[in-house]
Amino acid sequence: MSAAQASLKTYFTVYALLIVGLAATVAVAFVHLGFWNLPAALAIAFFKATLVVLIFMHVKYSPRLTWIVVSAGLIWFAIMLALTIADYVSRSWIPERPYSVQPTEPQGLEPPRSFQTPGNKAAPTAKAQ
C-alpha cells in the first residue's frame, strides 16, 4: 500500500492549485454575491480540501477501507450539522393556532378552547342538537 506514490510534479501541481484556490477565495470574498458568497467560499474550501485529502494524504492510492473511513467522518458531521440546523430553521415555523381558524359557538359543556384539536372540535355535540 505504500508503493503507489505520486510524482514530484503532482505534488507541485497540487500546491499550485491550492495557492490559486487561496487567491480565488480571498478574491471572491470581495465580490458582492449576496447569499452566494458563502456557497462560493465553501465550494473553494471543499475543492482545496479534496486535493489535500486525495493527493497529499494519499487517499487516492489507498484501499477502499480508507475511503470508507473518510466518508464516515464527512457523513457523520453532515448528520450533526443537518439535524441541528433543521431544528433552528424550523423553530419559527410554529403556526399560530392553526385549528382556531373556524371558531365554533360554545355549545353547552365542552372542553376549554385550549384543549381543542381539529379532531374534537365539539362536532358530536353540534350533531346531537
Binding site: 467522518g73 448528520i79 450533526m80 439535524l83 441541528t84 433543521a86 431544528d87 424550523s90 423553530r91 415555523w93
Partner: protein, 554 residues
C-alpha cells in the same frame, strides 16, 4: 494445542501441580502490572477501576434512596441531594457503564476471539487506562472536595455560569475520560479490521465482536462531540469566553444538541456490548448457533448508525422546533426494529436448545426480560405526546435504569461469571452465584418497577421532597434498592474468594465453542501457542449444522 474444532473436547485431566506460564503468573511486580501492555492485564486493571467507581456511584444511590424513604428532607439537604444524584450519574455513566463491558470484557476477549496476540496498539491501550484513571481521579477529587450539582447532563447555562460547585474539575475529568474511550474505540476498530487470524472471516466472528465493533464506531464518532461540548462549557466557565450565554445572544439549547449528539448514542455504547455478551451466553448455554446470525450482526451496526439520528427526543420540551421533534420522534421509533430483531433471535435460539441453567444464563434471561421492558417503555418516550407528559419524571428514570441496570449490568455480571474461569482459571461457587443472580433480579424489579408508576402519576425526577401520596411506592423502591445493593456485594465477595479457593476450571468448563475456549485458562501472555487457523463457523455446535448451512447457502 490445535485450534481446530476438536479442541473443546480436551478435558482438564488433572489439575497440574505447577501452573503453566500464563499472563497472570508471567511476572509479579507492581511495575509489571502498571506498565503492562498485555491486553488481558489491562482488562484486569480496568476491572479494578470500574469496580471502585461502581461502588462509589452505588453508595451515592444508597444514600439518596434512604433520603427518599420519607417525603420530607430529613437525611440530607437539597444541595447535598443534588450533589448525590449528580455523583451517582457521573460515576455510573462515565466511569462504570461506558467502560464496563468494552474495557473489561472487550479488552480481554477481542484479541483472543479473533485469534490475535494482542490489540493493534497495546501501548495506546495502556494509555487509555491511564487516561481513564486520571479522569476518575478528578471526579474523586470533586467528590471529596464538595461535589457538583449540575446533574450528569451539565446543561448550560447553569453549568457554565450559575452553579457554585466543582463543575470545572468534573468537566476536565470527563473530558480526559472521553479520550480514553476514543482510544479504546480506535483500538477495537483497527484490531478487528487488521488483526484477525487466518480464516477468521467477518461472518465467522462471534457476535460479541460485531457488537463491540458497532460500539467502537459510536465511541469514535460521538465522543469527540461531547468532548467539544464540555470543552466549550469549560472555556465559558473558566476563561470567561461566552458561548452559550443567553445574555450575549447565545443559545443554551445548542449545548443540549451537542451533548445529546453523543449522549444518546452513549446509551448504545452501554447496551450494545451487553447485547454482544448476551449472544455469547445464549449460544453457550443452549448449545445452539444464534438464530439468524447475520441479522443479529447487522442489527448491531444498524443500532450504531440509527443511534446518531435520534438525539432530539431529549429536547422535545426544551424549545426545540416541533417539526424537528416530529422527525426525531419518528427516527427514534426506528431503533426499536433492530433491537427487537435481537430479542426475537435470542428467544428463537433458546428453542430446542439443550439449556443448562447456570448463573450466566440466569443473568442472560434476566437481561432479555428487563431489556424488553426498558425498550418498550422507550417507545412510549419516543412518542412526543406521551413524552411531554412523563418528561423529567420517574418514568424516565425507571426506563433508562431498565436499559442500563437491567440490560448492561445484568449482562456485565453474566459475562463476568461466564468468562471468570477464563480470566482467572478458577470457577466461582455456583450456588451462591445463582442465589445472587435471583436476588439481583428481584431487587432490581422491586426498585424500579414502582418508579414507572410514580413517574406516570407525575412524580418529577431529581426532587427529594415529594407529595406524601408517593411515599408507599418510594418505600418499595428503597427497599428494592437495599436488596439490590446487598445482591451486588455477593459477587464481589465470592469472586474474590474464588481466586484462591475456587476449583480449577480447565480450558473449557462450559463446553463452549470459540477461540477463547481453545487456549488454556488463564491464557498465556500471547494468547495462543501458535497463531490459530480458523476453519470453523461461529457457534458451530453439533446441533447447528443446519443453521450454518442456511446462513451460507443463501
Amino acid at each position: 494445542m490445535s485450534a481446530t474444532l476438536e479442541a473443546p473436547a480436551i478435558p482438564p485431566a488433572t489439575p497440574p501441580t505447577r501452573l503453566p506460564r500464563n499472563y497472570l503468573n508471567a511476572a509479579y511486580t507492581v511495575r509489571s502490572w502498571l506498565l503492562t501492555i498485555d491486553h488481558k492485564r489491562i482488562a484486569i486493571l480496568y476491572l479494578l477501576g470500574v469496580t471502585v467507581f461502581f461502588c462509589i456511584g452505588g453508595a451515592a444511590a444508597v444514600l439518596f434512596r434512604l433520603e427518599l424513604m420519607t417525603p420530607e428532607a430529613d437525611l440530607v439537604e437539597s444541595e447535598t441531594y443534588n450533589k448525590l444524584f449528580t455523583l451517582h450519574g457521573v460515576m455510573m455513566i462515565f466511569f462504570f457503564l461506558i467502560p464496563a463491558i468494552p474495557a473489561v470484557l472487550g479488552n480481554f476477549l477481542i484479541p483472543i476471539m479473533i485469534g490475535a496476540r494482542d490489540m493493534a496498539f497495546p501501548r495506546i491501550n495502556l494509555l487509555s487506562w491511564y487516561l481513564f484513571m486520571i479522569g476518575g481521579a478528578f471526579t474523586l477529587f470533586v467528590t471529596v472536595a464538595g461535589g457538583v450539582d449540575t446533574g450528569w447532563t451539565f446543561y448550560a447555562p447553569y453549568s457554565s455560569t450559575y452553579s457554585n460547585t466543582y463543575v470545572m474539575a468534573t468537566a476536565v475529568g470527563i473530558f480526559i475520560t472521553g479520550f480514553s474511550s476514543i482510544l479504546t474505540g480506535l483500538n477495537f476498530i483497527v484490531t478487528v479490521h487488521k488483526m484477525r487470524a487466518p480464516g477468521m472471516t467477518w461472518f465467522r466472528l462471534p457476535l460479541f465482536i460485531w457488537s463491540h465493533y458497532a460500539t467502537a464506531l459510536i465511541m469514535i464518532l460521538g465522543t469527540p462531540v461531547v468532548a467539544m461540548a464540555i470543552l466549550l462549557v469549560a472555556l465559558e466557565r473558566g476563561f470567561g469566553i461566552g458561548i452559550f450565554d443567553p445574555k450575549l445572544g447565545g443559545d443554551p439549547i445548542l449545548f443540549q444538541h451537542l451533548f445529546w449528539f453523543y449522549s444518546h448514542p452513549a446509551v448504545y455504547i452501554m447496551v450494545l456490548p451487553a447485547m454482544g455478551v448476551e449472544s455469547e451466553l445464549i449460544a453457550a448455554f443452549t448449545k445452539n448457533r444464534i438464530f439468524g446470525y447475520k441479522f443479529v450482526a447487522f442489527s448491531s451496526l444498524a443500532i450504531a448508525i440509527l443511534s446518531f439520528l435520534v438525539w432530539g427526543h431529549h429536547l422535545f420540551v426544551s424549545g426545540q422546533s416541533i417539526y424537528a421533534g416530529m422527525i426525531f420522534s419518528m427516527l427514534s421509533m426506528l431503533i426499536a426494529i433492530p433491537s427487537a430483531i435481537k430479542v426475537l433471535n435470542w428467544t428463537a435460539t433458546l428453542r430446542k436448545g439443550s439449556i443448562t441453567f447456570d448463573t450466566p444464563l440466569l443473568y442472560a434471561l434476566g437481561f432479555i426480560g428487563l431489556f424488553t421492558l426498558g425498550g418498550l417503555t422507550g417507545l412510549f418516550l419516543a412518542a412526543m405526546g406521551i413524552d411531554v407528559h412523563v418528561h423529567d419524571t420517574y418514568f424516565i428514570v425507571a426506563h433508562f435504569h431498565y436499559i442500563m441496570v437491567g440490560g448492561t449490568v445484568m449482562a456485565y455480571l453474566g459475562g463476568i461469571h461466564f468468562w471468570w474461569p477464563k480470566i482467572t482459571g478458577r470457577m466461582y461457587p455456583e450456588g451462591w452465584a445463582r442465589l445472587s443472580a435471583v436476588l439481583v433480579f428481584v431487587g432490581f424489579n422491586l426498585t424500579f418497577f414502582p418508579q414507572f408508576i410514580l413517574g406516570y402519576n407525575g412524580m418529577p425526577r431529581r426532587y427529594h421532597v415529594y407529595d406524601p401520596g408517593f411515599q408507599v411506592l418510594n418505600v418499595m423502591s428503597s427497599a428494592g434498592a437495599s436488596i439490590l445493593g446487598i445482591a451486588y456485594l455477593f459477587p464481589i465477595t465470592y469472586l474474590i474468594w474464588s481466586l484462591k479457593y475456587g476449583p480449577i476450571a480447565g480450558p473449557n468448563p462450559w463446553n463452549a465453542v470459540g477461540l477463547e475456549w481453545m487456549t488454556s485458562s488463564p491464557p498465556p501472555t500471547h494468547n495462543f501457542a501458535h497463531t490459530p487457523i480458523v476453519d470453523f463457523e461461529a457457534y458451530e455446535y453439533p446441533s447447528s449444522s443446519a443453521a450454518i448451512a442456511d446462513t451460507h447457502g443463501n
